[in-house]
Each structure stands twice: as C-alpha cells, then as structure tokens.
C-alpha cells in the first residue's frame, strides 16, 4: 500500500511538469484562436458574451486585403524555388560525397553547418555590404532572396538528405542498377530517389515553412513577402492579422508536425532531423 503510494507520488512530479508545460504551450494558441474568431473585446469578455459573435469575419477581411494574394504568391514561389535549388544542389553533392569522396564527408558536413555561424540578421548585413555595392541589379529582383534562403536552410536540409542516404544502402542500389545495365540517370530516378522520398519530402516541407515565415531578411531588404505583409497588416487589424497568423501556422507548421508524426514510424533516424537543429 505505502509502496504503491510512493510510486504514485513519484509519478506525480513528472505528470505535473508535463501538464504545466502543456498549459504554457497551448495557452497562446487558444487565446489567439479566440481573438481570431470571436468579435468581443477582451475587456467585455464574461459569461454572457462568451457564446456571442463567433465568426470568420476577421479572416475574410484578411483575404480581401489587396496585398494578400500577391505577397502569398511571391512567398510560395520563393519557397518552390528555394526547394528546387536545394534539391538540385544538395542531393547530387550528398550522393557524390557518399559514393566517390567519402573522405570529404566531414568537411562537407562542416561547410553545411556554417550558416549557423552567420544568422539571418548578420547575413542580411552581408548582403547589404556586398551585393548593394557590387550587384544592385541582383538585389532588385524579389527572387534574389531564394539563394540566401537555400543557405539559411542548409544545415538541416543537408542533414535530412544525408540521413536519407545513410538509411538506404546507396552503394548496393547503385551497383545493382549499374550491373543490370541502368544508366546513371536511370539509377538516380528509379533506384535512389524513390528510396529517399521520405527524407526529401520532409526537408522540402521544412524549407518551405522557413521561407514562408522568414521575416528578418525580407523586411530588412524591404521585400513584400507574405511575412512582411502579415506584420504590416497585424498593425492595422489585429483580429484579421491573428486569423492570418493562425492559418499560416496551420498551413505550414501544422502540416510539418503531421508529416513528422506520420513518417516517424518509418524511419526514426531520418525523422530526428526534421527539425532545424
């Protein structure tokens, strides 16, 4: 009896810790959900007003903003371009290192971690320092953001791709495909890439999430992306701004979380990298 009681007491601590953490992490989501869909000012909130005036009006107002679609479309295009450049650059590099140049593995990995040393706010100072002076035409296009986003995302995109390669036996796949007469292109398309689909997909999603939420570089370079629009719009219309923020969260981070849960069972190793660190 007393033994059971001490065991119960021993579990009580961890349970309370997890409950407190859950409250801290869920509370901001709950309160912003209310602000987004409940048109009652917080001051007037009480038992009587709690069930009145719930609506999608705020979100609808946000959709009607003239800058909503152009900025969203720019951010989606930037995300797509960033993902494409990342894949085109890092997949061949990672495969090449595995198959032909294993002794360069540590060095390449080290290079991919360098963006951690130059965080976005320092990188944008560098962009201003170098490109403003030497290639202003380049900075004038909105798409100039994409290569820098590739660099920003590289520490975790490379890790995800690298883990995807490690999880499959690339060497055997290549040897098998080649000895059956497959060309390199066919080996890549039919043998290697399908087996890496999970890790490629998760790194693509994570990259897109980062691009759509990226504010530091875009705002300092005065680009009208979805994040800078959201910030400016929130200043004018808090309810619509919060609604937009919640939708963005569901559209990017939420999808990423679901993806993480779905793929977790398949390969633990590859999934542990579906995070920025």
């Amino acid at each position: 009896m007393s033994n059971r009681f001490t065991r119960w007491l021993g579990r009580l601590g961890p349970t309370l810790v997890l409950l407190a953490a859950a409250v801290f992490f869920i509370a901001p989501l709950v309160s912003s959900f209310r602000v987004a869909f409940h048109k009652v000012p917080t001051v007037l909130l009480d038992r009587h007003t709690w069930f009145q005036k719930w609506s999608f009006e705020g979100v609808r107002r946000a959709f009607d903003e003239p800058n909503f679609w152009p900025t969203l479309s720019l951010s989606l295009r930037l995300a797509l371009i960033t993902v494409l450049i990342t894949m085109a650059l890092l997949v061949p590099t990672a495969l090449f290192v595995h198959l032909r140049l294993p002794k360069a593995r540590a060095l390449v990995e080290f290079f991919t971690l360098l963006p951690y040393v130059v965080p976005p706010i320092a990188l944008v100072a560098g962009i201003a320092a170098f490109y403003r002076a030497n290639a202003r035409w380049f900075l004038n296009t909105d798409y100039a953001l994409a290569p820098f986003y590739v660099v920003m995302a590289m520490p975790f995109t490379y890790r995800a791709i690298d883990a995807g390669i490690k999880a499959i036996d690339v060497r055997t796949l290549v040897d098998a495909s080649r000895s059956l007469g497959g060309s390199w292109a066919m080996t890549l398309r039919k043998a290697i890439l399908p087996n890496m689909a999970t890790s490629l997909l998760s790194s693509a999603f994570l990259t897109a999430t980062v691009v759509i939420g990226e504010f530091t570089i875009a705002s300092t370079l005065a680009k009208n992306t979805f994040a800078t629009f959201s910030f400016e719009y929130f200043g004018r219309d808090a309810q619509g701004g919060i609604g937009l923020a919640l939708l963005t969260l569901i559209g990017t981070t939420g999808l990423l979380g679901i993806l993480t849960l779905l793929t977790r069972t398949k390969s633990r190793r590859a999934m542990s990298t579906t995070s920025r660190f």
């Binding site: 961890p14 912003s32 140049l101 040393v117 320092a122 170098f130 590739v150 910030f231 849960l261």
Partner: protein
C-alpha cells in the same frame, strides 16, 4: 555526378584528385551566397570612409552600443539557463513516462514544431495572451492582480524573455531527449546493486552522462536567443537588442558608409562562432553514449 562507373576497382590517385571537382557547384554556391556576404560584413567593419584599414569602428561599436550588448547577453543567458532547466526536466518527464504510449513522440514532434516557431507569428500569439488586452492579463486583473502594474510588459525584456521560452524550451527538449534515452536502466540497477542511492546514481552516472548535452544545449540556446530578430522586433520594434540595432542601422544607412551595423554583425558572427563551435564539439562528445 561523374559518368564513370561505380563498379570498377578503386580509382587511381590521379582520378581521386579529379573527384574533388564534384564539390565545385556546392562550394561555389556557398562562396557566392555565404562567404562573399560574410567577408563583405567583416571588410566593412574594418574599412574607414577613406578606404584605410581601421579597427576603430569595430571596437567603438561595443562602447557606443554597450546597452544593446548588455541586454542581448542578459536575455540570452537567462533564457538559455531557464531553457536548459525546463527543457531537461520536460524531456526527462516525457522520456520516463510509460503511459500514455503516444506521449513521448507527441512531445518530441511538438518540440520540433515549436523550436522552429520563433518569429512574428509567435509574437502575435503572445499579444493575445499577455498583451495589455490579453486573455491571461484580463483573467489576472479580474482576480485582483494586474501584471502590467507590477512591472511586467510584453514589450520589455520581461515579456521578450517569456516569449523566447516558447522556442528555447522545445529546442532544449530536442537536444536532451536523445541523451536521456541513452541513460540505460542497467546503469541504475548496477548503481543500486553496488549500494548506491538515487543521489549517488545521479551524481556519479546520470549527470556526467547528461552534462555534455546540457552544456552544449546551453551554448546552442544562447546563440539562438542572441541572434533572434523577428520575435523581438514584432514585440517591440524599439527594443535595445543587438539584432534590432543591426537592422535599424542598416535601414538608416543609405550611403553604406557607417561601419556600425557591420561591426555589430561581425561581433555577432564571433559570438556565434564561439558558441556554435562549442555546441558542435560537445554534441560529438554527447553522442558517445547515444548508440
């Protein structure tokens, strides 16, 4: 990808030399979009208006912006320390819980999401919770205690640090969860069989095994908070923190002549190099027990 076959015997020394060419696109890309900007920052921090080398701008940045440095370091140290404590505690609670079964994966999946959530959206979410018109502010005020009258404000450092905890804690959970999984039940049993108490186990086995992860996590969290821009900016565009100062001076510096933003950015790169370098070294050490 080189078109030559992979099934042939090991390449000769001469061909090995050529193999390095396969890294050219990757290195060229990093050179253009990471190295050039970095060199650009450092160069501008050390070149005076007349084109001569000087370290004046670099050193005077510290004295001119002393409060920003002090605030940034303070915010980063405090949120990193609290992140280590809470993150490790939560990770331990989640890792040792037997039921419900989905708890552990839920905690780690959510941490992966929340660690990446820093930015303007996070700031918006907290405005609805703890802003002047926030839900919790309202509940507390209705119960007789207005946090804004006791010195709390979402716009000053108390608020900024609280919001930072939303991504610092999950980041620490991600760092320590594998390390805690590495603590084997057999070690605890061995310690108990040799007459060790729970305290001896933690002092002699548990903490020494976790220490590299915790110290590494501290450095990672420090770097994470020190370089965070968007969250702080959205909470208070005037906050006196180094990242916000860099952005402010960059936008104000139309002529590109002032070394100040570049000096601040160079200092940031130095800070990052030290703390991230330490983190990576400690992570290597921590992984020793995670097989």
């Amino acid at each position: 990808m080189s078109p030559s076959s992979a099934g042939t015997p090991p390449a000769s020394r001469e061909r090995r030399g050529w193999a390095w060419l396969g890294l050219v696109p990757f290195l060229a890309f990093l050179g253009l979009f990471l190295l050039l900007p970095t060199v650009g920052v450092i160069r501008k921090a050390f070149i005076a208006n007349d084109g001569n080398f000087t370290s004046d701008g670099f050193t005077s940045a510290i004295t001119d912006e002393r409060p920003a440095f002090a605030n940034s370091i303070k915010v980063s140290l405090i949120t990193a320390a609290m992140g280590v404590v809470f993150g490790t505690t939560i990770a331990y609670a989640a890792a040792t819980a037997r039921r419900p079964k989905w708890l552990r994966s839920a905690v780690s999946a959510f941490s992966g999401v929340a660690a990446n959530m820093g930015g303007i959206i996070l700031a918006f979410l907290f405005f609805t919770l703890l802003g002047r018109q926030g839900l919790v502010t309202k509940i507390l005020t209705d119960n007789g205690w207005n946090p804004y009258e006791s010195g709390f404000s979402l716009n000053d450092f108390s608020g900024i640090m609280l919001v930072y905890m939303y991504f610092q804690i999950p980041l620490m959970v991600l760092v320590t969860l594998p390390a805690i999984d590495g603590l084997k039940t057999s070690w605890r049993e061995a310690s108990a069989n040799l007459g060790g108490t729970t305290f001896t186990y933690w002092r002699r086995v548990g903490l020494p095994v976790l220490a590299p992860s915790m110290m590494g996590g501290f450095l990672l969290l420090f770097a994470n908070a020190y370089s965070a821009f968007a969250t702080a900016y959205a909470l208070n565009t005037q906050a006196n923190l180094v990242p916000i100062k860099i952005s402010f001076f960059l936008q104000g510096d139309v002529t590109g002549r002032s070394p100040l933003p570049y000096a601040l950015a160079t200092w940031m790169i130095i800070f990052m190099a030290i703390s991230m370098g330490g983190y990576l070294i400690l992570r290597k050490r921590a992984e020793r027990w995670q097989r």
